[in-house]
């Protein structure tokens, strides 16, 4: 496999080991109690457990829990817990939160470990509280506070995060203004202001924008804007994104003092339903980073082989420019449903870097999978994944998933 990988002197540092993992096992088991009809559920609990094993490295797992009942419809709870992995990574909680809300949608509060997405502000993972109030005149007020979640670490002294956002309906759309500040062991880590807006300018044109301003080292951290036009089978979009990595780093990082060198990406995208079962998509753009201009091109098509789309094939071509990092790739996908119980799927990608630098001239990747779903709520899938990468001459993994849902009142 991966015979195209050069074996010249420049690549002598590249790992020549032939990595072959036959025994990688993924098992997903869904455990739960669900009623036949969602509206009739007196109590619904759902648990999904995910386990992963890789040869002698032991297993890993992910557990998801959701709970709600119809007697207290104003309250629900969810949790997602990474159970750790045999390769040494410890388990940790991603989400464990309870959400209470006014049934008329006027207010809600979420308590626990959660992901706060508030307007243009960066997504914040925190242990704390997020409260939301919908006031008259289309005004929404949100406030959040807590302790920032640090990977593989418990609570630290003097870590905190606080912020909020106010938004209201303006010209048929919505305009929001948010701010947040976080501290890392008491040191000022992040302080930013976010402005977001979205407007349906006409029946067919939508505008969205988000601007994030770093107020510690005054400058734009991120700016995103998009204008979308759609009519019947055609959708066109113009977009622009600017990110300044130095402003996205914590202010306590030495690398945050290197100044404003924004990375800009702008271009257009189109999606056309050429026939009822045939979609054609294309994206063309340019990236401008520190005076360097490079191209970004993606073209793809997808053909559904039946009305439901359960069987389909797709092809995608990509060209990403950039001095020293340009690459060209092709990706083909397919899925075929033989009957409601059996499905086969396959995916293949071939990427070719312009400058291999001893990392291999071609990076192929492929996966073939078979899925079986029984009427008795069993679900199983098995796949073979093979690839060659700058790291490994070739790698083969066998993946498997097994799930079962139990329903009971």
């Amino acid at each position: 496999m991966a015979s195209s990988v050069s074996d010249n002197a420049a690549s002598r540092h590249r790992s020549h080991c032939r990595h072959c993992t036959l025994g990688t096992l993924v098992v997903v088991a869904a455990l739960g109690a669900e009623g036949a009809s969602a509206s009739a559920d007196p109590l619904r609990l759902r648990a999904d457990a995910y386990a992963f094993g890789n040869g002698g490295n032991g297993g890993a797992g992910l557990l998801s829990l959701q709970g709600r009942d119809k007697f207290t419809p104003w309250l629900d709870a969810e949790a997602q817990i990474w159970l750790g992995a045999g390769d040494g990574s410890a388990g940790d909680v991603l989400i464990i939160a309870a959400n209470a809300r006014d049934l008329k949608g006027r207010a809600s509060v979420r308590v626990g470990r959660q992901l706060v997405v508030s307007g243009a502000l960066r997504p914040m993972h925190l242990d704390g509280v997020d409260a939301h109030v919908r006031a008259p005149a289309g005004i929404d007020v949100e406030a959040f506070a807590g302790f920032p979640v640090i990977a593989q670490s418990g609570p630290r002294q003097f870590d905190w995060l606080v912020g909020g956002r106010v938004s209201r309906r303006v010209w048929g759309g919505r305009l929001g203004l948010g701010a947040m500040e976080s501290r890392d062991r008491g040191a000022l880590d992040t302080r930013e202001i976010g402005i977001d807006g979205s407007w349906p300018v006409t029946k067919r044109i939508d505008l969205t924008t988000a601007v994030v301003l770093d107020t510690i080292r005054f400058g734009l951290a991120e700016t995103r804007a998009s204008a979308m036009w759609s009519k019947r089978t055609l959708r066109l979009e113009l977009f622009g994104v600017q990110r300044t990595a130095a402003h996205l780093l914590p202010a306590t990082s030495l690398f945050s003092v290197l100044g404003d060198v924004p990375a800009v990406r702008t271009g257009g995208a189109a999606r056309w339903r050429a026939a009822p079962r045939l979609d054609v998509t294309a994206t063309a753009g340019v990236r401008i980073i520190d005076g360097e201009i490079a191209e970004d091109l993606i073209a793809g098509t997808r053909l559904r082989l039946n009305d439901s789309g359960s069987s389909a094939v797709g092809l995608e071509l990509t060209r990403e420019g950039g001095a020293g990092y340009a690459w060209t790739g092709a990706r083909a996908t397919g899925r075929y449903t033989f009957c409601p119980a059996w499905m086969a799927s396959a995916e293949f990608e071939l990427a070719r870097p312009d400058d291999d630098r001893g990392r291999g001239k071609l990076w192929p990747w492929g996966l073939a999978a078979v899925t079986w779903r029984s009427e008795s709520k069993w679900d199983a899938a098995m796949a073979v994944e093979a690839s060659a990468s700058p790291e490994l001459r070739y790698r083969v993994d066998v993946l498997a998933r097994l799930s079962r849902r139990w329903e009971a009142l």
């Binding site: 009809s37 997602q80 909680v93 959660q114 690398f255 100044g259 899925t371």
Partner: protein, 350 residues
Amino acid sequence: MSLRVSRRTGALLALLLVGACAGVLGLRHNVQSGAFPHRAHVLKGIRCNECHTTIATDGDESPVVLPSDQSCLTCHQKPHDPRPCRDCHGSPDNSAAAVEARTHLKFSHNQHVSKLSGDCVRCHTGVHDDGAALRPQMATCLACHTHKAQFEPGKCEVCHKDLETERVLPASHLVHDQAWLRNHGNAAASSASMCATCHTQSSCAACHGRTTAALPGRLTFDNTMQNTIHQSGFAARHANEAHAAPGTCLACHDQRSCRTCHEKRGVSATFAGARNPHPPGWVGIGSGDNAHGREARRDPAACAACHSGAGEQLCVGCHKVGGVGGNPHPPGYRSQQPMSALPCRLCHLP
């Protein structure tokens, strides 16, 4: 001339190809064999409620009642087969769609039939075409001003009992295609409550969570048609993609993520005998390319991925006040941080 002929031939071939593939492309409607001939009954002047006898009084919780054999026998008095009529004269897809709609949607026929004066075809347009899907499209519901007003602010629960269990994909009104990965942040910024109608916290945390990346795409490896941020052979391409989009990785990953993963996989300069990841001429004092300064300004997050924390001392060794590395700040640099705070104190205070 030959070019003209070849163009004409090409156009002809293309037309033939489209014609031959009309079925596959969905241009030709596939009439279901055995579907109930609604059209013929409508043309005969038979009103819907003559067979669907309970429809005018069916409420939100009423069971799905499909016409019985007795309904057919009122006209077709000599049955040609002992089996139930619906076994042959009915589409299982339409029956299943009716049951699915009853299970997941809040809908009362009794409210709609009276408002439309019994004109069922205004919504069930498929009866004009035998075998077509009879369940109205969502766009038909939204054609009514009441439902349109509910849809626009995202009040899905008015019609949908529980979107999560219904597992309906927003194929018609909110397309989550490849471009969605790029612009979902904009949509979530101003319409987070809309996202919450289908997605839970776990959906966001699977990528944006700081503790670990659960990689939802990895769990559903057999869904090869899905669009994910780390698609297909991303592991091979990740260095190229990170270089092309400075700062993007920070949207989900901690600044130390690269080092953590590389050390686990034994691909790191911190290992004895490992190669220096930087090219020749990376650091030069008075000579050489001294490329590290330019690259660090371009993507400081990439430097921080390995050199943050204790690794910062490597930089400060040269880039200190009076040091050979000179001033790392660009002209006009200013910060609200006091000199006693990190990282200023690494250089500016003894």
